[in-house]
Symmetry: C2
Subunit: 393 residues, 2 copies
């Protein structure tokens, strides 16, 4: 977990505000949910690997003693590992207070007990939008439109969208290695194709038969929409939806393509899935997909749901700080004594009331050079002497 | 813990932005710290009652098994209960990266395992500003100036500041009931004078002797600055500082007074303390004080520190939503079919690019009356038919 020293935290807050402004211009409404959710909901969400990474919160006082005595669990709540499961729980709880269809924006930290490694954090921010109650790919198209515009507004234009559909993956698995009750472990193996060799993935799937696995990997490597439409069952519908999304994205000037190897390592997706990448980096900046059955699993009604999430940390690393340049003067006033500070605080109050500007009245530091450097780094373009400032010069 | 359904979460975000804008105009720099802190830091912070309310996070995997086997603690981290202890830890860790004096703004949720009761939440937001490295009351005066302006900017002018000083309380306790090593339990009893009768407080303090306790309670009820200055030791200095703060507040047009009964129930304060109240409510909206020794307790150097915190939830309940009225049209476009939605999404994209407005393209709900009501509640002033919108009418 990380601290953010100035000016990083300020830039992060400005970035979140910018993303939210774009989301709101599409009619997404901000929601807020608590950091802690019932452990049962987090662990029953079909979120795959993420469920293993939950930080669990120790039960309190008497309840803890009881739990230990009765062999109960030590924890009954945990920190959310994403914003999708909390949204589904939120929608189930507040159905009567929400417009339907409901378009939610959700910008907040999530926590995962990842092993420490470069670029992976145990606390990180997600910027999600979701549409609840829209079964057609109009939902996917709007999410992608708003998400790409938010990235573009931060100077990250030129992104590419890769699209696939879990229905296609399911039909491809069934056609090549046969019907299996839970294809999720196969998806997880395929998901590793971006960081493991095809040979490694093939050996992991070997129990299904080398020839069958080879045919599946061949499909994943080479399929186009025409061959995909030739799969049985729900494939034709999935391909029609993909064509609709692709042509809407193209009409909006976005770069988009079908990627039969796109899997996304989360269990709960049911249909179209997508990831957004930028030419400057190897990893995805954003992603999402449809997860229609989640509210039912959390005790609510069956509702179509589809979401899009910007990986805040990854985007922040890419964005040029100049994007956030604020208007208004930034003036630092350096004072030699308490009496001078009191005078300057009073003058600053009058000046501030007269127009939008920052007046930072502060004691003159012993290390003058370092104080100048610090103030420059924080964006102060004017540094004035307290005595002059107090005299109104 | 609470969910916030639309439009509450949007208004909350706007309120946080407004408060931050004012803080920043005084030169406070936003910082960000993780939700989880080392339990040792949280429990060694001299924060009194709050330390009992920490949500502890279960250690992970192998480390948990080891801990159980070796009789170690089940938890080594916890959710922060305020933003002051994390700030002191942050300053100790990043001393070489921060300007000094350092003016921090910190707006974030904190967690306390309170018993559920009206107006108390287990997750709530605090809006703090702190000055590190300024030993004079210029710090207190600037914090109060920025804090009162933030409240005024939200329409909450007419607030009253009550001021006291822990040095005075300490001298008053010593003068009336004698020197005691840890006066904090006496402070806690005095702090209850706003919700318990003087008789109840007196009986709690009875072990110190009825006559002595009665004299102390008499002092707390009646002291003014002149009598306070008559106490020995540090009292004269504390009174001089209070006079400086009071006259600066008066010069700035704020209502302020000395309150010898003001205690604040936290252990770590060392000198001036203050609370801000509003005529419309009985409880305080904000408060703070000086806590000079905290960094040393967390392994850092001795640094003067002083802070001010706005209780976000209490202020939000008071603020008139009209304060947040946003510019820009809000147009809802109701569509009958997927095809109509796709057309309208495309038209909305063009219109949005032409100026700041919200276009919310959404499926027409079966319950038309309810949809109209929902959209009105969310601030949509224009509701148009998708077919008309697509034709450009």
């Amino acid at each position: 977990m990380r601290d953010f020293v100035p000016p990083a935290a300020r830039l992060r807050a400005q970035m979140a505000e910018r993303i939210l402004r774009v989301y709101e211009s599409y009619g997404f409404e901000l929601i807020e949910t608590p950091a802690l959710e019932d452990l049962a909901a987090l662990l029953g969400s079909n979120a795959g690997e993420n469920e293993k990474l939950v930080f669990k919160v120790l039960r309190r006082g008497a309840r803890l003693e009881e739990a230990v005595a009765e062999g109960d669990e030590l924890a009954d709540t945990g920190l959310r590992f994403d914003l999708t499961v909390p949204l589904a729980r939120f929608v189930s709880n507040h159905l009567n207070e929400l417009p339907m269809p409901f378009k939610a924006a959700h910008i907040a930290p999530v926590w995962r007990a990842e092993r420490p490694q470069r670029g992976r954090y145990r606390e990180f921010t997600q910027c999600d939008i979701d549409i609840v109650g829209e079964a057609s790919v109009a939902a996917e198209i709007e999410l992608l439109g708003a998400g790409l515009e938010a990235l573009g507004d931060l100077g990250l234009s030129g992104c590419t969208v890769r699209l696939n559909d879990r229905r296609l993956l399911r039909e491809a698995v069934e056609a090549h290695i046969g019907a299996i009750e839970d294809p999720y472990p196969v998806y997880l193996a395929l998901d590793r194709l971006d960081r493991s060799s095809p040979e490694e993935v093939a050996s992991e799937l070997a129990p299904f038969g080398a020839k069958k696995v080879s045919a599946l990997l061949e499909w994943v490597a080479r399929a186009d929409l025409a061959t995909a439409a030739g799969l049985p069952g729900t494939a034709a519908e999935a391909v029609a939806d993909l064509r609709t999304t692709l042509s809407a994205l193209e009409a909006a000037g976005a770069s988009a393509r079908f990627d039969p190897a796109l899997v996304r390592g989360i269990g709960y997706y049911t249909a179209q899935i997508f990831e957004v990448s930028h030419p400057e980096v190897g990893h995805s900046l954003a992603g999402g997909g449809r997860y229609d059955s989640m509210t039912a699993r959390l005790g609510g009604p069956e509702l179509p749901m589809c979401g899009f999430s910007i990986g805040f940390e990854r985007v922040f690393d890419l964005v040029d700080a100049a994007v956030f340049a604020t208007g208004g003067a930034r003036v630092a006033v350096l004072c030699a004594s308490e009496a001078e500070m009191l005078q300057c605080l009073s003058v600053a109050r009058t000046r501030r009331a007269a127009g939008r500007a920052t007046y930072n009245v502060v004691r003159r530091a012993r290390n003058a050079r370092r104080q100048q450097d610090d103030l420059a780094r924080l964006g102060y373009t004017e540094v004035v002497d307290g005595a002059d400032f107090a005299r109104g010069q």
